[in-house]
């Protein structure tokens, strides 16, 4: 990837509206992610968090608005080309390849680099998630939920992304595993400066991890601020506890 102006945001979403048929899922959404930041997007079920994530990836393409990544508007570009520009996604529900081995799953993550520095990157991700090292020859479907989540993140990292999109990494996992995964994300951000956009329902954990956060309610951003600020606001606590009505 080319070195770009580090002063501007790495990702800038502005005025984005996305609809599935006649159902509008996102309305005039704007957010920015600066290089080296962890930004979280929190909200209740059906608020549009995953839709925003998928819109950034080009599937579906937005009805209106711009998505500027690294200085270029990627709105409407085909998904596979967007994913080749240094954006990687760990999708909601993990979506690892169940019948392929852990190693093959990781190999698929490295496919956009055509396998360059595969061994080296394999070392790095297995150092980050040592559990995966023990399971390299096992099929993805035989892993536990937490291991599958680690694999999904590791697979995303294999493409050497500059921006990592994490969609609900805590989904269905035990609190201890969630802590493990979140601490791995924090380490990754501190040591490599990886930029992370994290979509979470687990607002408490996410806001504590993130530098900044956005709250998404019914397809619109209602609040933003630093992680600590948002965590302190009563509306956020209400929204998070009462399920989306701030």
């Amino acid at each position: 990837m080319t070195a770009s102006a580090t002063s501007g945001p790495l990702l800038s979403v502005a005025g984005v509206t996305t609809a599935y048929g006649s159902i509008v899922a996102l309305r005039d959404v704007a957010l920015e992610v600066m290089p080296g930041e962890i930004v979280t997007l929190i909200g209740a079920n059906g608020a549009g968090k995953s839709t925003l994530m998928m819109t950034i990836c080009g599937s579906p393409a937005p009805r209106a608005g711009s998505i500027v990544y690294d200085g270029e508007d990627i709105a409407g570009a085909p998904t596979h080309l967007i994913m080749r520009r240094g954006i990687a996604q760990s999708p909601e529900g993990r979506r690892i390849f169940p019948r392929m081995t852990v190693l093959e799953n990781l190999r698929m993550g490295a496919e956009v680099l055509a396998g360059a520095h595969f061994e080296e990157d394999l070392e790095k991700v297995t150092a980050l998630f040592p559990r995966l090292k023990e399971r390299l020859t096992q099929r993805g479907g035989t892993l536990s939920g937490g291991e599958q989540q680690m694999l999904a993140i590791a697979r995303a990292l294999m493409s050497r992304p500059r921006l990592l999109l994490l969609d609900e990494p805590s989904l269905g996992l035990a609190p201890m595993v969630v802590r493990q995964i979140f601490s791995a994300i924090r380490d990754l951000n501190r040591t490599t400066g990886l930029t992370v956009l994290l979509v979470e329902q687990n607002a408490f954990h996410a806001l504590r991890l993130a530098h900044r956060g956005y709250v998404l309610v019914n397809g619109s951003i209602t609040m933003s601020g630093t992680g600590a600020e948002l965590l302190a606001r009563p509306e956020v606590r209400a929204a998070y506890l009462e399920g989306g009505r701030a």
Partner: protein
């Protein structure tokens, strides 16, 4: 291990009796059409004579035999139970281990088959037929087994290949060898033509469209009489030559027999055709195995596993699907050209839906994605059709039962193991076959 397995087994004799009863039931099901009825030529066609005595004797023998066998192996069974409580087995599954021995054995047999004493024209012809289906199975395996795209119209590419060669030979006077690569290319083009409209379809919807595609091709062949001869088909499709040397019963200068100074024999061409389809099938297998280790093959498998994840990893789903359709179609086209040159006559009747269903059954019974499984399934099905020819219409009944049995006992096919395409030189610590496929 769950508690249920640790529980001491119930009375072993009851279990043995149950087991023997089950075996007897299977024997009854299979034996009823096979042994229970005899056909004798009567005054007006065949007459059926029931043989309940023989059937009952067989069922009783199976019951007693199974029970005794169970008693005999009771000790070994308990050893197996102890093993089951031990940590999961290390290394590849027994099926994969057997496969390592079976595959070279089958290959050696296929290569030597025509020169084995006692093998005549009938056996070689049957071998050729089996290998044709092995090749078709391997071709469809790319689309269905690897890429996970359910294709019910695979016979269309077989037809495109066959008619492609026949038309090229008739109108452009191309020889088999010149036409062969073109038929592959032609069929691959049709694979892409089918691929485009179905890019967004999956599962049942895809199956229906491919089914319709197969029918469209057949109906076009049936009605485009000026080009294809319609229902009369195309006859006089040129026979293959041994790299330019024709096979001729007359012998003489410039023929295969004459060139090598052999006695002209009809067996030469039959044997040549056998080795030709063997080479084509092995080419299909070789390309598939190589592609599986290639990014393209991995992308097919990733697509089968999860389309959305594949896209999120930067794969172009369009390209991946189209290459799968085109590659599968190409081998179907090769097989079609072979079929045309072997038969010398083709008509739309050879390319009905039942052919697609048969090829798909071979792939599914063999274990989707398994090359060895497909070869075994093709041999069993096509060979079985021949062996049981004497059973007339009961043949289908036997095959129906066999298919149900396989799907009950080996729901993922005869050979369901999947070898990883990437490894770090060491084999798996836990055989993944132990654990049911799931999203855990």
């Amino acid at each position: 291990m769950t508690e249920a397995i640790r529980k001491p087994p119930a009375n072993p004799y009851v279990a043995l009796l149950k087991d023997a009863g089950l075996a007897a039931l299977v024997a009854l099901g299979v034996g009823a059409p096979l042994l229970g009825m005899q056909t004798v030529p009567g005054g007006r066609g065949l007459a059926l004579i029931p043989r309940p005595g023989l059937l009952l004797a067989t069922v009783a023998a199976v019951f007693v035999g199974r029970f005794l066998l169970g008693l005999l192996f009771a000790n070994r069974r308990s050893a197996a139970r102890r093993e089951a409580e031990a940590p999961p087995r290390i290394g590849p599954s027994p099926m994969a281990r057997i496969g390592k021995l079976v595959a070279p054995g089958l290959l050696a047999f296929s290569v030597l088959m025509p020169v084995i004493p006692g093998i005549g024209r009938y056996e070689i012809d049957l071998g050729t037929l089996v290998l044709t289906y092995v090749m078709l199975g391997w071709g469809l395996n790319i689309v269905v087994g690897l890429a996970g795209l359910l294709d019910l119209g695979y016979v269309a590419f077989y037809a495109v290949g066959a008619y492609g060669y026949a038309i090229m030979a008739k109108f452009f006077d191309l020889s088999f060898w010149a036409a062969l690569p073109l038929t592959g290319l032609f069929a691959a083009t049709w694979g892409i033509i089918l691929g485009f409209p179905v890019l967004r379809l999956r599962g049942d919807y895809l199956a229906i469209v491919t089914l319709a595609f197969g029918e469209i091709i057949r109906v076009v062949l049936l009605n485009w009489t000026t080009l294809t001869g319609g229902p009369n088909g195309m006859s006089g499709v040129p026979r293959p030559t041994f790299f330019g040397l024709p096979f001729s019963m007359a012998g003489g200068e410039g023929t295969f027999a004459g060139f090598f100074g052999l006695e002209p024999s009809a067996l030469h061409r039959v044997t040549f055709l056998y080795y030709l389809i063997l080479a084509l099938a092995l080419l299909t297998n070789f390309v598939t195995i190589r592609l599986r280790r290639h990014p393209v093959g991995r992308a097919w498998e990733a697509l089968r596993e999860d389309e959305i994840a594949s896209r999120a990893l930067g794969l172009s789903v369009v390209a991946v699907k189209l290459t799968a359709f085109a590659t599968g179609a190409m081998f179907g086209g090769f097989a079609g050209a072979f079929f045309a040159t072997r038969q010398g006559f083709i008509s739309p009747e050879s390319f009905t839906f039942i052919e697609s269903a048969l090829i798909l059954a071979i792939v599914v019974l063999g274990g989707m994605g398994s090359q060895l499984g497909v070869a075994i399934a093709a041999t069993l099905m096509i060979g079985g059709f021949e062996v049981f020819r004497g059973l007339e219409e009961f043949r289908m009944l036997v095959f129906g039962l066999a298919m149900v049995a396989i799907m009950v006992w080996r729901p993922r096919g005869l050979v369901s193991g999947r070898e990883p395409s990437v490894s770090l030189g060491k084999r798996g610590t836990i055989g993944s076959e132990h654990v049911a496929e799931g999203k855990g």
